[in-house]
Amino acid sequence: MLMKKIGSVEFNFLTPELVRKMSAIEITTPETYDKDGFPMEGGLMDPHLGVINPGIRCKTCGQQMRQCSGHFGHLELERPIVHSEFGKKLELLMQATCKECGKILLPDDQIAKLKEMSRGRTVDYTKKIVLKTKDVKKCPHCKGEHGKMLLDKPTNFFYDKERIYPTQIREWVEKITNEDIKLFGYNPERIRPEWFIPTVLQVPPITIRPSITLDSGIKSEDDLTHKLVDIIRINLRLKDNIEAGAPQLIIEDLWDLLQYHVTTYFDNNTAGVPPAKHRSGRPLRTIIQRLKGKKGRFRYNLTGKRVNHAARSIIVPDPYIDISELGVPEDAAKELTVPEFVTEWNLANVKTQIKESTAHVYIIRPNGTRRKVTEENREEILKEVDTGYRIERNLQDGDIVLFNRQPSLHRISMLGHKARILPGKVFRLNPIVCAPYNADFDGDEMNCHVPQTEEGKVEAKRLMMVRDHIISPRYGAPIIAPKEDIVSGAFALTIPQTKFTKEEAMRLLYSMGVTELPKPDLGKNYSGRMIFSHTLPKDLNLEYDSYTHKILKKAGICEEDCKENCKHGAYVKIVDGKLVSGIIDSASLSEGKGIIIDTIARNYPSEVIEKFYHNLARLTSHILTEEGMTASLAEFDISENARAIKKRVLSETLRKGEELVEKYKKETLEIIPGRTLDESFEIYMMRLGTEAKEKVEIEIMKEKLDYVLCEKVIFNTIAMILAKSRGSATNLMNIGGFWGQASVREGRPKKGFDKRLISSNEKGDVGIHAGGFIESNFLEGMTPKEYFYHSMGGRQGEVDTGVSTKVSGYLYRRLANSLKDVLAAPDGTVRTAANNIVQYTYGEDGVFPKNTKRGVGVDVKEEYAKMKSGN
């Protein structure tokens, strides 16, 4: 491939000479079309400027519509006009130079000094010069008077409060020598200041301002054409008036009008100039409006690309489809098409499709011509179609599509799915696949793209399918994992009390595709564990603490060394794919930590984890709908016993708090190393609050465990907390116990009134109650003061989430943009798009995080254990 390297890019001013030279024709009349509807010679629609109608040849280059990209024309202005974008520059130039001789208003020695500083280069000293010449009243060279310059933005100049016209300005800046102009930062080889007051305008080709013929036959012109017509019309009137020797006043009025039209032709949003309107009252979209901003050429058309073969809709959860599947609405599937090669193997199939399809079907002949299948030509096409043809058929079950949710922050924001055409108008997504997209179902919309080439399809299938991305490429742990309902369901299923009759077991097992009923393990009944075991691979062996078991240990219900003989059956033991004991909860299934999914995703082909999720989603949905899982306010209320404990802890905390305050005031408090007395005191007070909360929290949790540990289990908030699928012990504590210490930025709230948080407190009171401690809970309700403290903490949370999402989002974007072309080369080095080296070994160790266990490439302990056991 021929590759050329761009050495440098230089932006320059288009010289008037060049404008005339590159012009295809001079535009002289404001008429666009004559009365027969043909473009006027010398008009704005002159065929020399390019072609917009098919079949016509360009009068300049002789090419047809698509080939000819258009040609510029030009327009001679009767009187020069100030270019509105350069008003400020002209003002500065005129402020710093003499009207009479055009020299810089500085003594020779100072000018020489600047020239010496620039060493012959073009350097911008405008600011320096203008600062020094601000108060100069007399030219040091020709001794002429120098008056005050004033710019009435954007284009009107006043010299000593008297209007000066573009012709005069032009004469003035023409006098500035090439040597002097360098000091203002203009390279005289490329640019002259008199060009800021153009006498000639470029007329853009018609290809960038095409006229539209409406259905009614009326021609509608582009905004730019309208504006150019205005300019030419006024230009002609100006010419006539000058030739007729009209009074100066009338000429000046027309001159100003011409200035207005040229100004708005460049920028219709110039400050201080009323925007030019269309007949309908809509402001015109002129040159700058076309380019600028979000809807401008750059951001909208050049950086923003749009594609075909895509669909967008609201997403909805559907646990009954596989994780690698995507429920595509019928309406979308009728619009989306896939080109398919006709071979001898699918010829018959293709023919039936052509025969039966109700939506649009196209055929593509081997020579590339396309033909739509209609009622009239269906029979004919059926005869014609043969191998070597392609057929553009509608999306059908099993087609590979890409699914994506913005913001696409990482590679797993776009994954490959197998389409499943389903009724309705929304995309259906297995809720297990929410995490990589960061999607929820509160109205999120997502995009679906259909690969059009065989290469695209294969690439999507081999590299992008959901089932191959269970392990996150960022930290080497499962990211596509069940949460909330499915985890709760697994908990409800595998808790020892759950039993199923033969009929129920049959239904559950059949939903997983098991057709042979195993022997019951609990007398006549089947345990939930047995049902669950059918989801596991037959050679899986695992042993670990479930999350529930950890809580039971913490609550003192299970002993520290409690294992498979746990009387609550919480210790997980899987032998040869059979769940011998244990509750399946978030320790087995959660994102990042779930041991079962981690093991299955790593050690088995990806179809196994897909099947596992398929069965799990079905089982858990079933058990949740049968058993129900719900929350009631009653389960948050605490017993008399717990109430007493709470009371005791609170009074104890209060006492300790008073002691601390006393010690603090006497300065006998033990100071924490590296902290001041004040800081230490604050830390102690904070600690006091959290300790008190922890004490009561564990008591409440213990008491609530009964809901789940008793014979007749109730699946409620407590079950969810134990499964760690939703809610926490702290939530229980906040509702039924007490809120504890309010905190702002990891400390007790401080700011507010002078030396106190709220005006009803004593000034200088540092005690526990004045420092934001909340004894009430949500169930009882807080006192007004407590409510205020609580709000202080709440406000911080609100502000932090707002600020951190904004800041981190932008930071991430900048990083991602700068790293987007950096890639790992086949030899293991990391290179930029220009083939420059960034790293000599990817990540310095050459290890892809996805193939690690939580970032560890080789787990030495595990490898040792494997060697020891002889595997």
Binding site: T829, N836, E844, D845, G846
Partner: protein, 76 residues
């Protein structure tokens, strides 16, 4: 200054490598010297090696992921 910058624990070891070695390295990577990451001629870490423009510096760094890693930079 009363200590050698190269002896500081945060400064990795910098060595100039021989011409033949450079050519070997470039051949292995299939690039020209200009594609290497750059280092200033007056960078304090290599000042004492008296580098010339176009020399290649080998840097032996500590690495969180790999323990130790080798990096090459071209003097400019």
């Amino acid at each position: 200054m009363d200590f050698e910058i190269k002896d500081h624990y945060l400064v990795p070891e910098h060595v100039l490598i021989r011409k033949e070695k450079v050519e070997e390295l470039m051949a292995g990577l299939g690039i020209r010297k200009e594609s290497l990451p750059r280092i200033s001629k007056v960078d304090p870490a290599i000042k004492l090696l008296k580098p010339k423009k176009g020399d290649v510096v080998k840097i032996i760094r500590d690495s969180i992921t790999a323990g130790q890693t080798v990096y090459y930079r071209i003097v400019e």
